[in-house]
Assembly symmetry: D2
Homo-oligomer: 357 residues x 4
């Protein structure tokens, strides 16, 4: 059982299948028989097939793994959860039962302020003193609980008395889903756009999946890579060029990689000079390919870094004149006052990447 | 737009298909072409095919009819609605928008008391003076609204400030579903076990379906009949024996029907005397068949009547001795003190049946 | 593994859950905890809850039981199977693999003739000498296999060479489904309207479900009863009036039940004489109730019997005049020449009921 | 109606919704009202919202658009189609109808040979003389048809006589799906891994979608871009930096872009020299960003180009020694004999990009 939020939890009640299940399902396609000793470790061929299935969007082999969770969470979290229509739910009913007085109170440092850029988000970057409002919040919930008991005492039916209970009331459910659809849930709910509270549950689920289906889990994470990174990774894997998962310097390859990138950039320059559009196109593709490959050898978390750069770039402004651009071009985009470079975020990503695994 | 509850509504926004659609879908199975003039009235053959499809559980021809509704309803109603996973939903978000102060207040005569027999229901049979509690209820809601605005004023993010709003707050959604799945919704939600509030929406939907797909709607109602009633109805339809939809006497057939029922009962007696089990079985089957057929000719709403009798029967008690039974058998079940015969309910059903259509 | 048809089979590969699972799911609704020792036998309360859930159409508790099957079946069977969209499928692919020469040949006594009454069915009641055509059939399949190999030998891609293989070719799949949706499959595919070949697979699945989930299985069978039979059964169960599952005589109750039925019929006669419509309605309802109850005490398979009677009734003809009716009524429906009474079928049902369980 | 393959077709029978529908659905989230005159053209704000919804994976607004198609296709195509479980299907039944003699014959230039690299594919790059086998193929189909008629003539039931018909027999269905799920179908079936025959249907559907929902269609195409390209596109759109959809030279920005890329590469060199890992990471990210942006300004189809490069790269071989590498590194991957550079494919992509739209 993993505790989540102030009074909630999630636990895996039952599961069907293992890391071996998608192999059995996939190999029926090719007429193969699956008589492996599934107690042993998987060999490289098995792992590669799992990665191949996930990289290429094969979904049905992951539908034969099924998990049932027990979840205790606030109603507003469950409301978001129930929008996922591929799960089966059995929930505590306020029609059958008198509900206990259990409600969610946010941690002070998780409240923040209404996000400015993204209409749906909250921004917890600056410290806020919300202790006064939290006292008020708790009082409001206790008052609602009193109202509920008062109506019940006056013989109101449970199903209508509960109408006064707020959406931060805790409820409880059993929820069953297959692994393919669970991955869909995680993609949406363990995402920066998801509300903090449901994201905490999604993170807990990811821990559970990682513990029970480690091979599939890490293959799934890799399969989430952007197209270019995934292509470069497959290339490096195939040719044994290495794939670092924690950041490092690459002394033995450093000169070669720099030479390689410069070469592609020069090919672009030459193609422009020669008005050879195919070569120009090819050179830009290769420059991206080699650059991503270099980052790859460094073990840099490139997709996460790209997101940080993208977020920062979207906050830039267009140059008002060529003078404003340090490159002397009115086509440039420049950094407005107060703009924060993504470097701090990149630094943090490098640190996280060094410690994980 | 149909107003539902104190401040809610439902309206049909868009639809695809008509009473003709399932014919087109069904006739592809038989290789037939559907070049009917669909502006004309349906002929009997078309209507019979629709009835046949519904009576025999053919679902896909009704999946090509699709409806989009706009719904305004309290959160607790929407919570029940969202358990239907075959719909598509787009709902007002408390993360994106500040929610207006609009909440559901039950009508005094719809509150009742907690049901005794059925753990989930409410019992509105006796009059209750709830005016005092309703004042209290409204105050509680206004107080919650004040709490919500207070938190917003203190710059709490919308997504967490809304945590204090009760589940009777109104919300709004667009919801799309095909007709087959809508029938599934209606079966569960326009049912005596459903909560009053969602049932009001289900009733409104039934009106909309009836208006736009009248042939399918009435065929669907008939297809809901119990197995025996449906069998007898199909038999009467096939042989033109009549099928009354409002109660009446049957002077020209009365003697014949009585003779017929007595005959089957006598056959049972004879079979028992002769120890002929097949004939005994057959006679009981025929007695039921002829009795249901007689009720049918009378235009009695037999399934609804059966439910009333069943409910009353389940409240009876077992005879403690043969003396207690008016039939002198300790195997009898007798009526306890205070037991209400189903006749009043049957009377009401006959009245409703006389006015409907 | 259960062998099905001439070369097919079905086996349960994996399952999640047991007879206990729906109890856990259902009791979360009422806030109850489920800490039963699930190794012990179920007590009556547990069994009653399972029956209640199924009788009242609660579906989600049965969605947390999941089964994976391996199936080998002809393509035309798999085609019908794949119309069930709630399963997950992984099938042998003719794009990835060269398909072996394995095809379905029907048993001579299962071929029959095209059904006359029901456009989709076959009629195997009369003996047919099909040995000549079966030889022809086998030759046709071998010829198709030869064509397939010829195209492959000429380097045609597998995915297009397989275009010449007939739909009776065997294929193989893993298929995962939850128990609720499996019941939906069984209702349609272990049904007299289903094609013989897929019905054989459905029957095998029913054996597997019965072996692994016996309590749920028998409760589900009961829940399939017609409305009236179900009502009477619930009444008899509640009052301990007995519920026989194999046919028998009822000497100690015989006089009472006959008196009881006659009493209700007489009440109808009286109500007609008195023009009391409510009493007439009530009497007919009671007559059906008591008659079904009597059949129930006899242990007669009433629903199956009703189907036999219905089928026979639909083959009758309307009386051309009052003379033709043995009851002297032109409203009567009479038996045409060559009409077969349902008694033989009823006899067979009684025999089956005596041996089952 | 669009003709597909030799005798098949697809046509849009009915649709619900328009380019405006997702706006209505999306704006309910923000509490907005949608009272636009939907006969007018969309303004930029509307188009941007549609792009935003698709770029960010919002699916439900596209579930309120529903389409019904009529499809005539070979059984093996329909078999692949039916694996998509979110559609509703009504198909011609070989149980109800005698099937006409209509079968698919592949065009000679679409047959090719079994693919070597990808186990499931066919390779149509080299010319093949298959006329002899096609004659054989046709004979085999006519023979199967003869077998079918022979069995029918001998009174075999339709449902079992059809067992000898091959999977290239044409069948016909009505199929209903919402636009979100249709996009899922197109992603898988208008894809290089899909079988040629079903891909032809997917292409026809794409034409229909483009004609009826042009704004959504083009926004969906853009939303399919790889993460980096999408990020750069959003950046360019926001700052009005241009986004060319057909290839061109960029004389007014050429020097600036070259300087820009060289600058980022130099920053990487410097960071390596200074052992500043954050700066190295940042520089590689920026180099990719600027390079993709440059390609973007050129109007190069970068994702398609990347796929061509990736395919070619996966066919390379690892350098056996530093001597073999033109960069003098044993870490290099080199081009084997007979290896075809992606330039021809890139050239073709540029041509296609010039003519489209």
């Amino acid at each position: 059982m993993i505790n989540v939020l102030d009074k909630g939890y999630i636990r895996l009640v039952e599961k069907m299948g293992s890391d071996w299940s998608p192999l059995r399902s996939a190999r029926v396609s090719t007429g193969g028989d699956e008589d492996k000793n599934t107690d042993n470790d998987m060999d490289l061929k098995d792992r590669k097939l799992i990665q191949y299935l996930l990289d290429n969007g094969h979904t049905s082999p992951f539908e034969s793994i099924v998990l049932t969770f027990e979840v205790k969470a606030p109603i507003f979290v469950i409301r978001q959860w129930h929008r996922h229509r591929t799960w089966s739910y059995n929930e505590l009913s306020g029609r059958y039962s008198e509900l206990p007085c259990e409600y969610y109170v946010p941690d002070e440092d998780k409240i923040g302020k209404q996000g400015k850029l993204n209409k749906q988000s909250r921004d917890t970057s600056s410290e806020v003193d919300a202790s006064e409002q939290i006292r008020y919040f708790i009082e409001a919930c206790n008052s609602a609980d009193g109202d509920y008991r008062y109506l019940l005492d006056n013989e109101w039916p449970r199903e209508i008395a509960r109408a006064v209970l707020p959406v931060n009331w805790y409820t409880r459910m059993y929820a069953t889903v297959n692994l393919h659809n669970l991955f869909g849930f995680l993609r949406l709910r363990n995402h920066s756009h998801a509300q903090y509270e449901i994201r905490e549950y999604a993170k807990a689920i990811e821990e559970i999946v990682k513990a029970h289906f480690p091979v599939i889990y890490y293959a799934w994470k890799k399969s989430q890579q952007s197209k270019y990174l995934k292509g470069v990774r497959q290339f490096h894997e195939k040719f044994g060029l290495g794939w670092e998962s924690s950041p490092r310097w690459i002394p033995d390859m450093q000169d070669f990689r720099i030479k390689f990138m410069q070469e592609e950039l020069d090919e672009y320059k030459e193609a422009v000079a020669n008005k050879d559009m195919v070569k120009a196109f090819d050179a830009l593709l290769d420059l991206v390919y080699v650059t991503v490959g270099t980052a790859h050898l460094h073990g840099f978390p490139f997709d996460e870094g790209f997101e940080a750069v993208q977020e920062a770039n979207m906050l830039k402004q267009k140059a008002k004149s060529a003078d404003e651009s340090k490159r002397g071009s009115a086509f440039d985009v420049v950094k407005p006052e107060g703009w924060v470079a993504p470097e701090e975020k990149l630094n943090q990503l490098l640190k996280e990447a060094s410690t994980c695994l």
